[in-house]
Symmetry: C2
Subunit: 497 residues, 2 copies
């Protein structure tokens, strides 16, 4: 008698191969597709999405899930559990609602784009209300223990709850706000303008590729291209593609962008090939995914040891911009902390406050404690209180991000969770590997990647994010490693006690 698990596995692989094809269609569209190709591409993507959805919700999957047994094997258990999670999410929601959500989200994105251009929240409000209503319905169909937000969060950070995140964020907010304020009032200030000098594109590209290679990115199993918004996409652990953008008058954009995307990419390349196209070959959650990018971008890429090694070379690459800049000055500049309005341009500290603003608002929106019409005021008040700066209009306020316009409620917190996971993982790596600073200072980034691969990447979806943190670091997720890290780093830069 054939093993139902094997039959299930075959179906899972088909679904994930279709998804890999969709990833390629998307990558191509964002990097190479000629502009007029967009119409045909939309039809090709819609077809693939429909074929995948059909397979994902097929009753066969349900039957095979009932018959499959893990037999105590953790790989089987993972694949069964995650397939069940997706299957149940998919079949619980009526297909009419799924279609209505897709339509509204697609429309919502267009309306948001125009509303943002006009800085007119009221033009977007009715669509956002509708989306929110549909997402609330979706949450009811999916089900939750404590609050509807959890059902939505589960799509991005499986197993996490709003309550637990709210607890962490409240602590984080309590510790970060005074630190950011102290920094804002510090007399000692980095000269951020040196990063806005002229940095030739070719040198930036050379630098990005070199850094990615040193980190362990395998260019035989991946690529680096250019796109308007940087992203990483993976077809398998042997075909992982990242992008960046080059701004000749803003050095951090490409250089830290590549470190960030290469962090994601190592995470993707670090999966085990035999688990291709299965949950065991996928990442745990967006938060864990983000922990890998932020660790390389910030804990490594914005560290002093990293630049102790690379700064002489950086001065050779950019003699015009950095010829008269010392290492300390450069190190301070790339770690400038300053309240600003736009999330994607925020520094390592205030970024988390931007996220907390969004999390608190969207949680209240989903629960019904906040009305859509009240978003601009609530946004501006929270920004003033947490970040210390007030948006002058909605475009630089509550209309800046695309997420809500596509119905993605529950996505934002994963960004800040990523920072917390990153700090806790990095502290554990340092404990395990001895003087990590010394190897980074020596230009050797491989030990860290090896450690991450062994302890995180190769596990795929075997553990939930919370379990993984406990397993790897011996403790549940907390803000302490992050606070220890930022205090140790930023207080000296700003001359704080």
């Amino acid at each position: 008698m054939p093993d139902p698990y094997q039959a299930l596995l075959e179906r899972i692989k088909v679904i994930n191969k279709l998804r890999a094809v969709e990833e390629l269609l998307e990558w191509d569209q964002l990097t190479h597709m000629p502009p007029k190709g967009v119409g045909a591409r939309a039809e090709m993507k819609a077809l693939l999405a429909a074929l995948r959805h059909e397979r994902q919700t097929s009753p066969e999957i349900g039957d095979l899930l009932e018959q499959s047994s893990a037999d105590g094997d953790p790989v089987r258990a993972t694949n069964i559990r995650e397939t069940r999670r997706l299957y149940e999410r998919a079949v619980k929601v009526p297909s009419e609602l799924v279609k209505e959500l897709a339509r509204t989200a697609s429309l919502g994105n267009d309306i948001w784009t125009r509303a943002r251009a006009d800085s007119d929240f009221r033009a977007f409000a009715p669509t956002l209300s509708k989306l929110l209503g549909l997402k609330r319905q979706e949450a009811e169909y999916i089900g939750y223990e404590n609050e509807p937000y959890d059902a939505l969060l589960d799509e991005f950070e499986p197993g996490a709850t709003a309550e637990e995140i709210a607890g962490l964020f409240a602590e984080l907010r309590g510790r970060l706000v005074p630190l950011v304020q102290a920094i804002a009032e510090a007399r000692q200030r980095p000269d951020f303008s040196i990063l806005k000098r002229h940095y030739p594109r070719a040198a930036q590209e050379t630098m990005g590729r070199k850094f990615a290679e040193e980190m362990g990115f395998d260019f035989e199993a991946g690529r680096l291209d250019v796109s308007v918004h940087p992203f990483t996409i993976s077809m398998s652990c042997d075909d992982v593609r990242m992008t960046t953008r080059y701004d000749e008058h803003y050095m951090p954009s490409a250089v830290f962008g590549v470190l960030h995307e290469a962090g994601h990419s190592l995470h993707e390349q670090g999966r085990e090939p035999q688990h291709a196209f299965t949950p065991m070959g996928s990442y745990v959650s967006l938060g864990i995914q983000e922990s890998q990018s932020r660790m390389w971008e910030n804990q490594v890429g914005r560290s002093r040891p990293f630049w102790e090694h690379h700064y002489p070379w950086a001065r050779e690459l950019y003699p015009e911009a950095l010829g008269n800049v010392g290492l300390d000055e450069f190190y301070a500049a790339i770690n400038t902390v300053a309240p600003s309005l736009i999330r994607v341009e925020a520094d390592e500290l205030t970024y988390n406050l931007h996220i907390i603003v969004r999390f608190e608002l969207e949680r209240d929106l989903v629960s019904g404690r906040l009305e859509v019409a009240d978003i601009p005021d609530a946004w501006n008040r929270k920004m003033t209180k947490l970040v210390g700066i007030t948006p002058g209009n909605d475009a630089e306020g509550c209309l800046q991000d695309t997420h809500w316009s596509g119905g993605a409620f529950g996505y934002f917190p994963t960004y800040a969770l990523g920072n917390l996971y990153a700090a806790q993982f990095f502290a554990a790596a340092r404990e395990a590997l001895g003087d990590l600073g010394a190897s980074i200072r020596g230009g050797d980034l491989r030990p860290l990647n090896e450690w991450l691969r062994t302890h995180i990447h190769r596990h795929g979806m075997r553990y939930r994010a919370g379990e993984l943190v406990r397993l790897v670091t011996g403790k549940p997720l907390s803000i302490e490693p992050f606070m220890t890290y930022v205090n140790a780093k930023f207080k000296p830069i700003y001359g704080l006690p």
Copy 2:
């Protein structure tokens, strides 16, 4: 009651969208995919091919074909006729044979690659025999009127017959062989070596892009990339991608290569958008497809008027290579005729003789008049007789082409048919447009493209190749326009009477 034709059309579009996705997977593999991605890519391609095959042979298509009526509408008639052709070809052949052919062809390609490297035909012979046997079976299942070769030819040149092609080729051979011989004995000879000087890659790329633009290639609806073997692929008329390769010491490779591929691409971009993903939006046959590339490459790109306009610029682009070369000398060099062993490197005249060698051999192979073991001798004898040169080994003889190793019997003649169609179309265009030479000499290539678009491209598969030729030129296909063209062109270059 829903119109069965509309239901059929929806299914046709799904099949062709899947094919478009496969095209993109292929394009990406040949231009951008990181080398290690090949395993996952093979699985993605196999899945898509299976999904498409399943739909192409679905009994639903058969039922809808029975119920669909063209109602006198030529678009409907075309879509129904071509869908029926593919459906019947697909369902007539047992799926076991299809699978066995796919397996043997895939294996055959590997074995051929090694056999060619070792120049050892005997290593390839058993596989070729097996493939041939399977293709003969396929021909029997598909059915034919005169000879099994016709059933195979139909895949590439629908509606053509071996007999008709043999007639044309016999005439062509009779007229070309003496011309090539006279040229070989001519005292006046071009200096081919000037094309092997140093032509910087960047200048070649500039030239190729400029030529493609002047022809009317829309870079907003297409791309030019680099690959080992040049090709053109199209997802829709709004996303057409061509490739070339750059050899800094052989100028014709990229420059005439781009003219060739841009000819294909204009043909693809010239389809009408409303027919996307249907037979009306596809090309008629490989021969017609090739007529478009060869016309731009040869009738236009290797013409004197074309270079009268562009040569001053060419000398600016390549001062080192062409500084001391006059227009006449250059024009003669790019039209060098010389017997050679390798088809893909052959000139405009002997190319057709290479094709005739292959056509005569493969027709005899399929009919059983020629044994596989006798191929090398037969090949060498024919090459000596037609081209006037004898291969020293199988690698430069009967093992040089990949086609047979993949089971593609009936493909070769479309190359020479393309040259004949091209000449006949070009003569008709000249008649319709007045002095085409003058507009080309003036640097204006658009009138020709417009004419081709109106009379050929936009028709998609509406007419069979033979019908199209009659419709556009008023006469059935003949070798006369080609012979008139080559006599007028080559006799002066070689000082022949």
